[in-house]
């Protein structure tokens, strides 16, 4: 399946290569570089590139291209999903997935890649099992390792592969037993010129951090499970139980994992928590344009809208912007024409606004398109769909765990057309 993997950085250098079968010369990446040159933006490189003898499937994350070399027919999503899993694992191990982090931990990276694929077919991709095989590096362990010459590789061989719950390592022990669940919802929306919603939907995830001793069996039930329209589960969730009773019943993996992601049924109207008043105009003949933007909260159930960030790609004709924010700071990059305004928290009494003028290229005609405004925000302690966890029970273990549930709403791809 997957023949080789090349890691390519933003400047087009291959900084790591790994082969699972015979060695494929790195010159195969030339085809990739060609495609990269042709693409105007890094995102525009096609994920699947055919070459005379191989196929290149790549993903771009953290400004690193992970280029997999394939020799014969394979579902492309199989490779893409696997590559993303590799990135997730790196992130899990090193905290960040950057070129520097990978270079610093090249041995761990190699050990990981060796375990994750055998002959190009995925072998162990569960983080719980990998962590048993190869200990993640920590500052302390690195120190100890250099001094004592001990190793990163687990002394004992993992048991997880054979247990009935392949996602959970055995012999888990904690002094403080805790289980935290974060219900995070994202609103994807397109708002049109006049402020009416063209499309809006809510996607949510439940991320868990479970640190429980032994083999706990958890059940999580919702007050209003009917809201969940389309769900996908971590493999630990018992599907039958969900089908029959709408209860999440599972033996959790140890540590952090995504329990569930869901889509809120589209019949429910989506409450849009912010509104934007905008007036962006360019006058014919003059080299000036007006920019006027005001944000305000709407349907937030009394919760504050925080970490608001507005960004907009201004037309190419704009040379500079001279704006005045009522709060926060703004930046304008004259090269990329990207305007971003870090608003912070919206105070309903004093609405944040950004006003001023834009200077245009002299003599150029007025741009005939208006920029789209992208908004990011966070609302704590609220799931916008109204989803509520009813209760969390634990079976199979004697102790009383500490349980916590947090709700949050975020903007996903939230765009306002002007």
């Amino acid at each position: 399946m997957i023949h080789s993997l090349f890691l390519v950085n933003a400047s087009g250098d291959i900084f790591l290569e790994k082969h699972w079968k015979s060695v494929v010369s790195r010159s195969v990446c030339d085809y990739f570089f060609e495609a990269q040159e042709r693409a105007t933006e890094p995102e525009n490189v096609p994920p699947v590139i055919p070459t005379p003898h191989h196929y290149l499937i790549s993903v771009l994350r953290h400004r690193i291209y992970f280029v997999a070399v394939i020799q014969s027919e394979v579902p492309p999503l199989f490779v893409i999903e696997f590559l993303h899993r590799v990135v997730d694992t790196f992130q899990d191990y090193f905290g960040v997935c950057t070129e520097a982090a990978i270079k610093d931990n090249v041995v761990v990276v190699y050990e990981l890649l060796e375990e994750m694929l055998d002959n190009g077919f995925p072998l162990a991709t569960e983080s719980n099992i990998l962590k048993e095989l190869i200990k993640p590096p920590t500052i302390l362990r690195t120190m100890v390792n250099t001094i004592t010459g001990s190793t990163n590789v687990g002394e004992q061989l993992p048991t997880g592969q054979l247990s009935v719950v392949p996602w959970r390592r055995t012999g888990v022990k904690y002094t403080n037993n805790e289980a935290y669940f974060d219900v995070v919802e994202e609103i994807d929306a397109i708002i049109d010129k006049s402020g009416s919603t063209i499309t809006a939907e809510i996607q949510g995830v439940i991320d868990a951090c479970v640190k429980l001793t032994g083999m706990p069996d958890l059940t999580l039930s919702f007050m209003n499970p009917r809201l969940l329209d389309d769900v996908s589960f971590h493999p630990c969730v018992r599907f039958k139980r969900w089908e029959a009773e709408r209860i999440l019943s599972f033996i959790p993996p140890d540590g952090n994992f995504r329990l569930l992601s869901y889509h809120v049924s589209s019949q429910n109207l989506v409450a849009i928590p912010v509104y934007v008043k905008h007036n962006i105009t360019f006058r014919e003949g003059s080299s000036q344009g007006r920019f006027d933007l005001t944000l305000g909260p709407k349907q937030t159930m009394g919760k504050a809208v925080e970490s608001v960030l507005v960004s907009s790609q201004l037309p190419r004709g704009v040379l500079n912007a001279n704006l005045n924010p009522s709060q926060g700071t703004y930046t304008f990059d004259p090269v990329t024409k990207m305007l971003s305004w870090d608003v912070g928290k919206i105070n309903p009494q004093k609405l944040p606004s950004l006003k001023g003028t834009m200077s245009l290229q002299a003599g150029a005609s007025k741009p005939d398109e208006n920029p789209t405004i992208n908004i990011q925000f966070k609302i704590q302690q609220m799931a916008i769909s109204g989803l509520k966890v009813n209760r969390l029970d634990m079976y199979g273990e004697k102790y009383k765990p500490f349980k916590g549930i947090k709700y949050m709403t975020k903007a996903g791809k939230f765009q306002v057309r002007t």
């Binding site: 105007t40 020799q71 190699y110 991709t125 389309d230 039958k240 992601s261």
Partner: protein
């Protein structure tokens, strides 16, 4: 003090070494020539830490793609190291360089051979992994031996590794194919979920055409699928898709009727039963086909996008048309994932949306383009939106397109214009609107937008050129400002094609072109020549000289295409002595009416590839792509998938012991799967799997039923033992509606019951819901009519109730409370003291319905709660079969005429006209007995009402063209009319 200071100095020493190492690193960079020497030295040192450090460096070199092959001898010595990490790194090195240093690599083989015998399964596995990764042809026999041994290993993990090794060996030496297939065959039989994915992968690589190996394992693979790790699922699903296309008949026949509700009944009933219900073109989905569809469906909820996609493609290629749409939601969900995932999923949706608009239309808004999307994502979304456009939604889509046209991404804006053009040709209502919109775009400032508009307008005008000379004039005016060659060429072509509509303008455009001819692009030059030729033919007076001039320019052009074309045109249009017969036809050649171009989706022809494949994504046949075969016209023998189940006796034995307290079917089955523990069976849906596996196995294990029945052939009529026996028989009947089982029952059940059981019906038991667990606070109850005479009182109808505890605490004292009407005569079941969570119990009751279909209402009570429930019998359940001869039947029928006779002419589904089918259908509705008939076209059935014992005689006389006369003779005229209605419905239905 001394010892301490020594320890201290040792510590310092260590630090010094560390520093040395790092300085060595420095030196490595500075004097690159020295580095291998240093590393070799370190590798050969005695200290483990030095070796490890050196190996880490070496791995670093490999990772960077530097050559470290010189170190091979030094590295390979460490292969037997005790240090696990060092060993692993040596393995990494070995696998990388063994191919280049074959002789030296052989030194390490003995270490692996030893490790293959290690008691620790992981050491065995990793030894096999490395051994098989060393691509040295000499060791092929050793590898073969190791693989064979590992395939029989007790540890599934080692067996998994051996499946991987098969592929490695195959790629090293394809001559081993036959032997490897043997190993694959053996591993395919493996029941471990760990092995399944890997061995199917090996199968796909080594012998994808040996479909015969799959037959026996098909059902097992289907049933294991949910528990296989995600990557294996993808491989298995894609293999099963191919398999299914060769083994089952197409479910896509036009009038194929398939009722989702019948799904359950499938496995309980024999396939004959199904035949009775189908219409003229009988399509019966093979139960194995259904099994595959049903077992893959839950995987749509997988977090792994590749799994979801593979299930989606399986449904697309295998499911009946109306079932495919269940994958829509999951596919749309994937659009939330990473950019690359979106790309692939959108490509597949684009292909799907061409054939099946309806599937994605409700989700149209999910395909709206965001300004932050990557260009290829935008284009794909646009493609899908265009595919989805129809009369109803076109206005919404066009409004959306208007925004896209203004996009800053000009390539995307251009693509939008093309999309508008496609909408305009496909939906004639909006052609004019689109055309007007496009004309407005001609005054856009952006050149690419204008150019694209011109090209699209050209295509649109071609479809209806009659009244658009205004637009052509407008475009001629714009001509001077347009610089994009393609657009200029398009305008020129339009001028030429419709030169008679713009007789004044066309020559003028030609005049301008003559001026700038030499500076134009090739494509524009070609069209200029074209225009000149056409004008020459229609308006030679004005343009003769201009044409001559242009042809002369063309004659000396640098591009040979243009020179060629010029020469050809000149010969064609200018008459001279050399020109042949073609000259006469010049007009007809150049000014022939041209068919309008069809604006089609770029994904039109992608459906020749299986969805979700690399080939589909690239629209090129990729290496190793396996063609998806067409459905066979006639299904191959389906019995090849039957597995000989040699049921060990002990598995059935507990059943006899449990006969007094029969558990529910589900519970009973799960005993069978001894390998799975509770945990797994819960998450895996073994409920389904086991019921299907046992229905397939029941036929082969009929003999066993006999054996077990013998000890329970009770001769005393003691009521409790009789009851338990009776329940046991019912259980058997539920398990398999097989005649064998009935025979067994007849043998077993002595006198009092036997007489009354004349013609047991073989129809599947329909189960009705009595109490849903949501309303029952965890207590769920279902009931069915076993169609057995009631043991308690002869005038009661037997009802079996399955009580299940779905809550998480045990329920106590389940019994029947108040009933209404109060006179209702119910024989209750004994109070169930305690029902554990997840447990279920089957109890039987008797109810005297007094020959009416009025519902029996009563309360189902637990210790704490009471739930009102009701049982409403179908009229056919109030009967019991009565055996009589044809003469008796006719005689009795003669007595029940006039008021007592109800009849109707009915239309029957053609599939129901065979006598077998009629019997099936009738018996499924009513619990009556078949009366053997001497006439072929008359079918007779007799029964008595349970309560009053009144005769019910049903006769069906077949007429021409699938009509029939249905007559019911009975004193109970209300029942007769109800029965008539039910029968009519059943017989008309396929």
């Amino acid at each position: 003090f001394f010892s301490r200071s020594r320890a201290y100095s040792e510590f310092l020493n260590e630090i010094l070494i560390c520093q040395c190492l790092s300085s060595a690193k420095l030196r490595l960079i500075v004097f690159s020539g020295l580095r291998n020497e240093d590393l070799k030295e370190m590798l050969e040192s005695n200290k483990e830490s030095h070796k490890l450090e050196a190996m880490k460096r070496v791995v670093g070199l490999i990772a960077k793609g530097k050559n470290a092959s010189e170190l091979f001898p030094a590295v390979v010595k460490n292969v037997a190291s005790k240090n696990i990490e060092l060993k692993k790194l040596v393995y990494v090195y070995l696998v990388r360089y063994a191919e280049e240093q074959q002789d030296l690599a052989l030194l390490s083989i003995s270490t692996f051979q030893r490790a293959l015998k290690d008691p620790n399964q992981f050491i065995r596995a990793s030894a096999l992994r490395v051994l098989s990764s060393i691509r040295v042809p000499i060791i092929v026999p050793i590898m073969m031996l190791a693989i064979k041994e590992a395939a029989a290993d007790l540890s599934p993990y080692v067996r998994k590794t051996s499946a991987h090794a098969i592929q490695k060996l195959y790629s090293l030496d394809a001559d081993q194919k036959e032997q490897l297939i043997e190993v694959i065959e053996k591993l395919l039989k493996d029941k471990s979920t760990l092995v399944a994915g890997s061995v199917v992968m090996a199968f796909e690589e080594v012998c994808p055409d040996r479909i015969d190996l799959i037959h026996k394992n098909y059902r097992k693979l289907c049933n294991l699928l949910v528990d296989v790790e995600e990557w294996g699922q993808v491989v298995i699903i894609s293999m099963l898709t191919r398999y299914a296309r060769t083994q089952f008949t197409s479910p896509w026949k036009e009038d194929a009727v398939f009722d989702e509700n019948n799904e359950k009944a499938f496995y309980d009933s024999d396939s004959e039963e199904k035949k009775g219900q189908t219409e003229s073109k009988p399509y019966i989905m093979d139960p194995d086909h259904r099994l595959l569809l049903r077992n893959t469906k839950p995987l749509l909820q997988s977090r792994n996008t590749a799994v979801v996609m593979s299930v989606a493609q399986l449904y697309w290629h295998l499911a009946p048309k109306h079932e495919v749409s269940i994958v829509t939601k999951s596919l749309v969900r994937l659009l939330r994932s990473h950019r690359e995932v979106q790309y692939i999923v959108l490509q597949n949706i684009a292909t799907m949306s061409i054939q099946r608009k309806g599937m994605f239309e409700p989700f149209m808004k999910s395909f709206y383009v965001r300004s932050t999307d990557a260009t290829h994502i935008k284009t794909l979304k646009l493609e899908i939106l265009t595919n989805l456009a129809n009369e109803a939604n076109i206005s919404t889509i066009l409004r959306e397109f208007q925004t896209y046209v203004k996009s800053q991404d000009k390539a995307f804006a251009a693509a939008t214009i093309q999309a508008i053009g496609r909408c305009a040709t496909n939906i004639s209502e909006v052609t004019d609107t689109c055309l007007n919109g496009l004309v407005l775009l001609l005054s856009n400032r952006d050149e690419t937008v204008v150019a694209e508009s011109v090209v699209v307008i050209k295509k649109l005008l071609q479809t209806q050129p009659t009244q658009h000379s205004e637009i052509i004039k407008h475009m001629a005016k714009l001509f001077d400002n347009i610089t994009v060659p393609m657009a200029r060429a398009s305008i020129l072509w339009l001028m030429g094609e419709y030169c008679e509509r713009v007789p004044k303008i066309a020559p003028d455009v030609l005049r301008k072109m003559a001026k700038t001819f030499t500076t134009e692009e090739d494509i524009v030059k070609l069209q200029t020549v074209n225009l000149a030729a056409k004008l020459y033919l229609t308006n030679s007076k004005q343009t003769k000289l201009l044409t001559q001039y242009i042809l002369n320019l063309g004659k000396y052009d640098q591009n040979y295409d243009i020179r060629d074309r010029t020469r050809f045109i000149r010969q064609l249009i200018v008459p001279n002595e050399k020109s042949g017969a073609l000259n006469k036809y010049a007009r007809r050649i150049l000014l022939a009416p041209k068919p309008a171009p069809v604006l089609e989706s770029a994904f039109k022809d992608r459906d020749r590839f299986q969805l979700g494949t690399l080939s589909h994504s690239l629209n090129i046949k990729a290496t190793g792509y396996q063609e998806l075969s067409d459905w066979p016209a006639v299904a191959p023998d389906q019995s090849v998938r039957n597995v000989e189940v040699i049921e060990p006796v002990k598995e059935w034995a507990p059943l006899v012991g449990k006969a007094k307290q029969p558990k529910s079917d589900d519970k009973f089955y799960s005993d069978e799967e001894e390998e799975k523990d509770e945990e797994e069976s819960e998450s895996s849906g073994s409920d389904d799997s086991s019921s299907s596996s046992s229905s397939s196995s029941s036929s082969s294990s009929e003999g066993l039923f006999y054996d077990f029945m013998l000890p329970c052939e009770l001769h005393d009529t003691d009521s409790t033992s009789l009851l338990s026996l009776y329940l046991f028989i019912n259980l058997l009947l539920c398990l398999s509606a097989q005649s064998q089982a009935v025979k067994v029952m007849r043998r077993a059940v002595k006198s009092p019951i036997r007489a009354s059981v004349t013609t047991p019906s073989f129809s599947p038991v329909k189960t009705y819901e009595l109490l849903h667990h949501m309303s029952g606070k965890g207590l769920a109850a279902k009931y069915h009519f076993p169609r057995q005479p009631c043991l308690y009182q002869p005038n009661m109808v037997a009802v079996q109730v399955i009580l299940t505890n779905c809550s998480d605490h045990s329920l106590e004292e389940i019994h029947i409370g108040d009933r209404s009407p109060a006179s209702l005569n119910i024989h209750c079941f004994n109070t169930i003291e305690r029902l554990e969570p997840e447990a279920s119990v089957t109890v039987s009751m008797g109810i005297d319905f007094s020959d009416s279909t009025q519902a029996a209402n009563f309360q189902l009570c637990t210790k704490t709660d009471q739930f009102s429930v009701s049982i409403q019998p179908a009229v056919g359940e109030l009967l019991m079969p009565s055996s009589m001869t044809e003469e008796e039947f006719c005689k009795d029928q003669g007595k029940l005429l006039g008021m007592n006779e109800t009849s109707a002419t009915i239309t029957m589904a053609t599939a129901n006209t065979s006598s077998l089918a009629i019997n099936k259908q009738l018996l499924s509705v009513a619990n009556v007995g078949v009366v053997s008939s001497s006439q072929n076209n008359i079918h007779r059935f007799a029964g008595r009402t349970v309560s009053s014992g009144a005769l019910v005689l049903v006769s069906l006389e077949l007429r021409e063209s699938s009509t029939a006369l249905l007559t019911i003779n009975t004193e109970k005229s209300i029942m007769a009319s109800m029965l008539l209605r039910d029968l009519k419905q059943a017989l008309a239905m396929a």
